[in-house]
């Protein structure tokens, strides 16, 4: 008739002193599982690599990135350089096209998406219906279909002729797309940038001062307007005075000569030292954050994993730069010197022209066919189709994200804001939107990533983005694996950049609880 609770307590007491068998010991299990996971991952990687290598050898396929330096036998449809002399240069042109498309697309899709998303919540019946139709139509049709549709619509416009309108010399619209005046960076642009940077710095100080005056007196002090005014004054002054910064180029020239004096050995040492220093700093910061008030540092197993990870990372970096890819250091020296020489030229003496210039579009006769000349900003058929396709499609999704974010703010928030007498605009700006933004941001980042990756559909209509150019390159060289690896690294770099930017805002918007 013993109490079951009593029995239980007795047994647990006796177990407390003894060590459990190793397969039940939390510490041992944790370490073992980590080591096993690591071993498994390494094994899988090594296995795949060796299999791939032997398969390629069996089929007599050579691997390597030497093809990047070889000549490409064809021209590109559009980009910063339509006649690149090497495959590497061609891929770079494709990357620039993709980046331009994504960047411009993100801005346009955000603006349009926010407008439509807010419009769907509008109390104006027509606006809310129109927004709903926009969203439901665009998000329910595959993007590829939309891109082809836009492409076909543009193709059905009147054929381009010499003297095509609507406004000859200013705006051309035809089956070849749209051509408008091109605004471009000209001679004195980089020295003008120095003026703008100084203006922005002073403007920022003025803005802070205006903000302080507003806080202290409650007067309207227009801080953002003052910032704009200061930058504007410097911009106008710099337009005429920019040649006075001609000496800046000499600094970059000096930098180029310093880099040129380095040897690969020195660069390897520098990288190794930086890697070790970074690992040590990281571990020290980490240890400092774990220090208890009594000054003791108590580490658990996970902390040891982090420390081992950091140390191994430093060792890996050193091995990579010395043994893994010895050519890396001379590549860094060469490209660093080239970069500084280019900057030395851009900021150099004798650039007295205006910072920004413009050219009017024209139509020129190429053989028997008229076509848009290079002086205009040509939104050619393919680019227009991809651009408007991804912008409209993504805007529909962003609209839903924005609507969801605003609806996620509890009704009580706007009621409380109204109850203390805030106007509608102040309420939106100070209460509703800051809270909605917190909800909107993570899915908005997803949409940006989707947009960037969706630009690869350009291949369907032959616009020269990185995928289309890559296809041309591997058709000519047979280096499929290498091109795919470049694609993957490129999109990974783009996506990580977007993620870092979005996360930066995400952290800043977090709400403090408990």
């Amino acid at each position: 008739m013993s109490d079951p609770l009593q029995v239980d307590r007795g047994s647990s007491l006796s177990a407390a002193g003894a060590r459990p068998p190793f397969y039940r010991d939390a510490t041992v299990v944790k370490w073992l599982s980590q080591v096993l996971t690591l071993a498994l991952v390494l094994f899988a990687l090594i296995f795949l690599a060796s299999q791939g290598r032997s398969n390629l050898e069996a089929k007599d396929i050579e691997t390597g990135y030497d093809f990047l330096g070889t000549a490409l036998g064809s021209d590109l449809g559009s980009g910063i350089d339509t006649n690149p002399n090497t495959s590497g240069r061609a891929l770079w042109v494709g990357m620039v096209n993709t980046i331009r498309l994504s960047f411009g697309g993100i801005i346009a899709a955000t603006v349009l998406g926010v407008l439509v998303g807010v419009g769907r919540l509008s109390r104006n019946w027509i606006v809310s219906r129109a927004s709903s139709v926009f969203v439901e139509t665009l998000r329910n049709i595959p993007l590829l279909v939309q891109i082809i549709l836009i492409f076909v619509v543009i193709a059905s416009l009147p054929r381009v002729t010499i003297d095509q309108g609507p406004i000859p010399g200013w705006l051309h619209i035809s089956n070849k797309g749209v051509s408008i005046p091109r605004v471009f960076v000209a001679d004195g642009f980089y020295q003008w940038l120095i003026f703008l940077a100084i203006g922005a710095a002073i403007g920022w100080i003025v803005m802070r001062q205006r903000n302080r005056v507003h806080d202290e007196t409650g007067r309207a002090t227009y801080p953002v307007l003052s910032f704009g005014a200061v930058v504007g004054v410097f911009g106008v002054a710099g337009w005429f005075l920019h040649p006075i910064f001609g000496w800046v180029g000499a600094i970059f020239d000096f930098g180029a000569s310093v880099i040129d004096a380095l040897t690969p050995g020195i660069v390897q040492v520098i990288i190794s030292v930086v890697a070790v220093a970074a690992a040590i700093l990281w571990i020290r910061r980490f240890l400092a954050s774990h220090r208890t008030p009594a000054g003791l540092t108590k580490l658990v197993d996970d902390d040891w994993f982090r420390i081992i990870f950091a140390a191994a990372g430093a060792v890996l970096v050193i091995l990579f730069v010395t043994l893994g890819w010895p050519g890396l250091s001379s590549w860094i020296i060469n490209s660093g010197r080239d970069l500084f020489e280019v900057l030395g030229d851009k900021f150099g003496d004798g650039r007295t022209g205006p910072p920004i210039d413009a050219m009017r579009p024209d139509i020129e006769q190429v053989g028997n066919f008229p076509n848009y000349g290079p002086s205009g900003l040509n939104l050619i058929q393919g680019l227009a189709a991809v651009y408007f396709g991804v912008v409209l499609y993504t805007a529909a999704f962003i609209a839903e994200v924005v609507r969801g974010g605003i609806l996620a703010v509890p009704k009580g928030q706007s009621e409380a804001a109204q109850a203390v007498g805030l106007r509608r605009s102040t309420m939106l700006r100070r209460v509703v939107l800051p809270q909605a933004f917190r909800v909107i941001l993570p899915p908005l980042g997803n949409q940006y990533l989707n947009l960037t990756k969706n630009t690869s559909l350009a291949i369907a209509i032959g616009y020269s983005d990185v995928v289309q150019v890559g296809q041309t390159v591997y058709n000519q060289t047979g280096k499929t694996l290498e091109v795919v690896s470049i694609w993957m690294l490129f999109y990974l770099a783009c996506s990580l950049t977007i993620s870092v930017v979005v996360n930066f805002f995400n952290v800043r918007m977090r709400i403090v609880e408990r």
Binding site: E415, I511, R514
Partner: protein, 288 residues
Amino acid sequence: MSDEREERDDSAAGRFGAHTYQRAQGENNVSISDATVAVSDELAARDDMIVCRDVDKWFGDFQALSGITATIKEQEIVVVLGPSGSGKSTWIRCINRLEAHQNGQIIVDGIELTNDLRNIEKIRSEVGMVFQQFNLFPHLTVVDNITLAPIWVRKKSRPEAEELAASLLERVGIPEQAEKFPGQLSGGQQQRVAIARALAMEPRVMLFDEPTSALDPEMIKEVLDVMEELARSGMTMMVVTHEMGFAREVADRVIFMEGGEIVEVGTPHHFFTDPTEERTKLFLSQVL
């Protein structure tokens, strides 16, 4: 500050005489005296803070308020009781236009609530409201919660508004929580911050919509203490609550509602010891 208050009183009284009061006599021939206290026409202009005449409110087909007629005098503490769904909250929310009434008149401090946006803004800045769910702004610190409206509506400077916030936090008993975020406070502390936020607009009337219903029992008292202190200071208050103790001890008058109508009005003594209406008796037998 006293100058400002006097000026506002004059203008409010002036407007009442010229506009609203005449309208009450001329256009709407309503019988003011009902179950409520009869209002002398002459006095109506002077010390009536909230006047409701035949207020109707529908949500679709459902009539939430029917023929609400009541007057709340300056410095009066009125507690509204009734079973859930009786329209208490709807009524109190109509008084600062969080809900729009469809028939009848609501006049606050001499200003009639109509679709005129300027009147709505003016009334909202004179009427403070405390919600059941606190509705503090979670992305702002306690001090920023309190100073938001003084800075953006009253156009005060930040130091001035922060000084005001500090004195209000002192008044509600939590001066040390100023720099925390609402999520870091207990329910009772949050509700006291909400009261301070409403007081920061220096309102003439305070509306409380079930201020203690979302609180743990041990926190109810700290909020009720603040409300009692506010009542003693001469604030006009309209309180929807289930706290019978508060109604008994602090209220000047108790209004009992059921089914969107005012059933009975009286002093707490009358209400709790000798109610006349059958429905009131039934309600009291259930809650006491």
